[in-house]
Amino acid sequence: MSGAYKKVNRGVTLTLWERLYFPEVIRGVLIAAGHFVPNFVSVTKAYFGGKPSDRKIMTIYYPEEKPVLPEAYRGKPVLVRARDGRGKCVACGLCEVACPPKCISIVGGQREDGTRYPVTYVLNGAVCIFCGFCEEACPEEAIVMSDRYEGLCEYDRKPMVYDKEALLVPEEKLTRRLDYIRRRMYGKWNY
């Protein structure tokens, strides 16, 4: 369609008023004040008895306030514990091969009733790059990216290696993400 190459105007010239310099300094300060004064007023208002939403600034007071994360957010990968108390994972090993930095290792086994389950499931959180490929690969929706972003860094690498117990999260707590991946990511209508 239309649209062309257009020269930019590099010959910006200053008028006499602008060359006087000091009026320009004042103009610049006024622009900054246009940000400062409303911010200052809103923060003061919120501090003295107002609501936090009165604060019309970009930043939030973390950790007292938490950011609202979008549904798409990819935090710590977690295993889904189904409502009957068992993990959903069937130890197929797809997430293990899909993971680009190879941070998952699984040893599969069989329960008495013949269903497969992971005897050990180790996810090395220090190596994980939060890409979400494990979630995409899993045919059972057994591993999903939660919205957990806190407590993932430690002073030592040992506690960052998560075993099955550290990864299992009840399904009720993951409904938002499970709904999102069915609706926006791997649902049939997206193909």
Binding site: M1, S2, G3, A4, Y5, K6, K7, V8, N9, R10, V12, L14, E18, R19, Y21, E24, R27, G28, I31, A32, G34, H35, M58, P70, E71, A72, Y73, R74, L94, V97, A98, P100, I129, F130, C131, G132, F133, E136, A137, P139, E141, M145, I181, R182, R184, M185, Y186, G187, K188, W189, N190, Y191
Partner: protein, 398 residues
């Protein structure tokens, strides 16, 4: 004074600037030969951020390269995703069969990434020239754009959004309204940034007529993107060789005259406006429909199908374990990144892994021009010149 100078025995000073100088973001080292404050020679040393990107890609499947492409130019990660996906799709022969919506969404995300990149670059450049206030306005604008990107991709920087044959996820509900709100704020920030700097005498003195490069030199050094256009060369991959849906939108491409830092600044400022225009146009035309190609051998099938159809399940397992089977051949697809031409040269010998994955990063060619551009200038001119190059270590050193 001049007599005194003749009597004194002076020698040029060798100064090593970087690799961790505050202004050499991205870890690069300048070996300077100085006569007083004048630069006689400047050798640029790169490679401090080498991570063996290409080798990594060759060791994983075709899909597993996506998270690594994020980490090339981390300011505009989606553009790298798109560039890689386009090259791989060309090789697979599915390039023309992509669903409309996927192509539109890819274009929108590319332009949002360009916005984030230009905001960061211009903001950081002014910061290093001492204008902290203007920096904060553009960082706020960039944060808002990154919020948009996060709501689509799930991460601000490491987007990992595009897949061969489709996208990881569809746009969230209410995306168009979110974009409208963000763009209103960002236009205001742009106006204030422009008011604070474009006619600012100190800023003009630092930027105008420093770091200039002629069109011939720029072409000879392999410049692309805003830096090439600032030198007056009318070349933009989006216009010269349209990909995605750039031939269906109406946008201008700003070009400069002398290739100095002021031209580069003005070109980038105008590109921000044009990107806003493109995104708005595309959101108005966004078609409904699927975002992934309906071909289970290319794009992993839907989870429902994996559970219910044996054919889909086989493809899903095969794609994940062995990788997508890409026929033998080689391909290079150029795209316009925010810094210049980003292209992937892929070689396949058949099978699930790239045999060779070479990226053409714009920063690499631009960085080799720094020495040329600062020769004869003052030491302080390195800062704006280097800023306007926008070296991204992750991309230059790979």
């Amino acid at each position: 004074m001049s007599e005194l100078r003749m009597d004194l025995h002076t020698e040029p000073m060798i100064l090593s600037m970087g690799p961790s100088h505050p202004a050499t973001h991205g870890t690069v080292r300048f070996l300077l030969k100085l006569d007083g404050e004048k630069i006689l020679n400047c050798d640029t040393e790169i490679g401090y951020l080498h991570r063996a990107f290409e080798k990594h890609c060759e060791n994983g499947t075709w899909t597993q390269a996506f998270p690594y492409t994020d980490r090339l130019n981390y300011n505009s990660a989606v553009q790298n995703n798109v560039a890689y996906a386009l090259a791989a799709e060309e090789l697979l022969g599915v390039a023309g069969k992509m669903p409309e919506r996927a192509v539109y969404v890819r274009t929108i995300m590319c332009e949002l990434a360009r916005l984030a990149d230009h905001y960061t670059n211009l903001g950081a450049a002014t910061l290093e020239l001492g204008a902290l206030t203007a920096f904060l306005y553009f960082v706020e604008a960039r944060e808002l754009v990154w919020d948009l990107i996060e709501s689509v991709c799930g991460a601000r920087l490491t987007s990992n959004y595009v897949r061969i044959g489709g996208l990881a996820s569809d746009l969230p509900e209410g995306f168009a309204d979110h974009v409208k709100r963000v763009f209103a704020t960002n236009r205001e920030h742009w106006r204030q940034f422009d008011k604070l700097l474009t006619k600012n005498r100190i800023f003009m003195d630092r930027m105008r007529d420093t770091g200039a490069i002629s069109a011939e030199d720029a072409i000879a050094l392999g410049f692309t993107g805003p830096c090439l256009r600032a030198a007056g060369v009318e070349y933009d991959v989006r216009k010269a060789n349209p990909y995605l849906v750039y031939d269906r939108v109406d946008f201008d491409v700003p070009v400069g005259t002398t290739g100095d830092n002021f031209d580069k600044y003005l070109v980038r400022m105008e590109e921000i406006n044009q990107s806003l225009r493109i995104v708005e146009q595309l959101l108005g035309k966004l078609p409904k429909g699927p975002i992934n190609i309906n071909d289970a051998s290319v794009r992993n099938p839907a989870k429902e199908d994996v559970k219910n159809q044996i054919q889909s399940m086989i493809h899903h397992f095969k794609n994940t374990i062995e990788g997508i089977t890409v026929p033998a051949g080689e391909v290079y697809v150029p795209t316009e990144g925010s810094n210049g031409e980003v292209g992937f040269y892929l070689v396949s010998v058949g099978g699930g892994k790239p045999w060779k994955c070479r990226v053409r990063p714009p920063s690499f060619a631009l960085t080799q021009g720094v020495g040329e551009m600062v020769k004869g200038a003052f030491l302080a001119d390195i800062i704006p010149t280097f800023d306007m190059i926008n070296l991204i270590g992750g991309e230059c050193d790979r």
